[in-house]
Assembly symmetry: C2
Homo-oligomer: 342 residues x 2
């Protein structure tokens, strides 16, 4: 009892018309009589006909599928970007395929290949932390027409559109805010500097200090990971070194959270003695014992814009041109108790 779904052949046989007629009727072709159109549509419904998009895709070269590669899907940031992409593209008939790179360049390469084999119409990606060499990506540009769009974690490759937030500005804003609150010895928890986003946040931090006549001390720039533990460790080290800051701008909410936990343990008052501001505006920041300031990356918007950039590039590609877009979104700072001294 195999339920094979009906094809246009089955319909054509049943109605004694050609498959071409059936196809045209189903696709609302203009030059076809209303009578046959109605008849075909009606019997198609009766026979529970379902169009086979595979065959259509093989013919047209368009699968109406796009791929997304992210390190992990179950983080607030990435799942929100994916939500934005899905919501932008779904009304246009696209399906969204997701892949996780687990921060591993080799897995990333593999996914890139299988997505290409699957004939996706476009690929959205945020590169992994271990993606230093980008030859595999540039190679795709040379050998296929599949548009690639970077979001958030981009690499500078000509021919690839990007959608990011202005991380430099985010770092600058956060730091400037701390300065305006009267903090003078501001420490930065830097993320993985292999990624541009963290590099930019650091640069924004530095420039804000300089613009406000504060010195940039290398002792105040600590390379941490993006985990709670990393934040805890960083605080431990700072206090051991007696190199105590009066404020912390962390490039990661999780590291900032770890810092808060460790500071509390040491009975150091936030924000009176030490201010803390994070980055990403993770949901938990507003529910913390002491609501934590953070910089929002507007992930859903980022996803929607990335979707729009893709749709435009598909249109342009049809017209034979391919344009490289660089969209930079404005970060939004959320000031909460953890950094308000005044």
């Amino acid at each position: 009892m195999n339920k094979k779904s009906a094809t246009i052949y089955d319909i054509s046989k049943k109605l004694n018309v050609s498959v071409a007629t059936v196809s045209r009727a189903l696709n609302n072709h203009p030059r076809i009589s209303q009578a046959t159109k109605d008849l075909v549509v009606k019997t198609a419904k009766e026979m529970n006909y379902k169009q086979n998009n595979l065959a259509k895709a093989l013919k047209s070269g368009e699968t109406k599928n796009v791929g997304i590669i992210v390190p992990y899907i179950n983080t607030n940031f990435f799942s929100s970007v994916i939500r934005g992409i899905e919501e932008e593209l779904s009304p246009h008939g696209y399906h969204v395929i997701i892949c996780q790179s687990h921060e591993d360049i080799n897995i990333e390469k593999r996914h890139l290949n299988t997505l290409l084999n699957a004939q996706v119409d476009g690929i959205f990606m945020s590169v992994s932390k271990t993606t230093i060499d980008t030859e595999h990506i540039r190679n795709i540009l040379d050998t296929s027409n599949t548009p690639i769009i970077f979001f958030d974690r981009k690499k500078d490759i000509s021919g690839i559109s990007t959608v990011t937030i202005d991380d430099y500005r985010g770092g600058y804003m956060a730091t400037e805010h701390l300065i305006k609150e009267g903090y003078k010895n501001i420490c930065h928890f830097a993320g993985d500097l292999n990624l541009e986003i963290y590099q930019n946040r650091l640069n924004g931090y530095k420039q804000a200090l300089i613009d406000n006549d504060l010195t940039v001390k290398s002792d105040n720039i600590i390379s941490t990971g993006s985990s709670i533990d990393a934040g805890i460790e960083a605080i431990k080290k700072l206090w051991e070194k007696k190199s105590v800051p009066d404020a912390i701008f962390s490039s990661s909410d999780f590291a900032a959270l770890g810092a808060c936990q460790e500071l509390k343990k040491r009975k150091i008052k936030i924000p009176q003695e030490v201010a803390v501001i994070g980055f990403s505006n993770e949901p938990f920041t507003q529910f913390m014992e002491l609501p934590m300031s953070s910089v929002d990356q507007t992930p859903v918007t980022m996803g929607k814009i990335a979707g729009q950039v893709f749709l435009e590039s598909v249109k342009e590609n049809g017209a034979g041109v391919s344009i490289e877009k660089k969209v930079v979104l404005a970060p939004q700072i959320y000031i909460r108790k953890s950094s308000k001294r005044k």
Copy 2:
């Protein structure tokens, strides 16, 4: 300058062999000379040949794609389940397509149809809150062989495998824990009772009361939504009615969070005066001012098991049989400060 990728025809022409030979060489067919195999593989690489899975799928009837329909992707629970499914299926060559129903049965129906049109090999879904009638789903079982697997939010439909947690037990455990801590007037924030999961949590709550000789009062069962505001409203109403409980078991972490916020505002001490325990073990629960107890649904595991159930059902389907599996996972209770009085 259109970069069309090479096909096996291009390779066959270049090497003056038939496409069949090329196909066989590429697929490591046993009856083919090592020499030609090497040659074909080598030139395929040179020509940057990429297998077109579309054509393969059209022929084989297997797309190696599965669809997932969830209300929203950017929640900790659903994105974690998706992570589990992706990690289980990716090594088997499957890609995962995600769709959001936005809690709307009509969108859900549409996605179900487009996924079927896309010839996915299976569909995972958590039904929307508005999915009361299930004819559209049962209809699929009658007209196609595509296996459907419900996770978490299931409906009772024969022929469909399900992976859920034992919500009844979760509700029972949470309530029993409160009782053991000495709370006697326990209130339940019930979720949307159209969904089995919330029904089950409620039933577990009731039975735990009964088993411990406490009376089930209808005044203590409050139908709330799953939002922070819903929790705030619920507390307001309870205190207005002077029907004050000494503990709250909420079917939602967010409603529980709202309750905590409103209780704090009213200077009611947690857990001394009122205990609170939620459901889902959202990440924020452990970072709250007062870490909140909650029942964990082990979402990543749920996704992995769902993936396994799918893989088995594909194997069985090949053998001509189709078995209906009902996997029930054990919930895990996390007891934190919000419910520990002793």
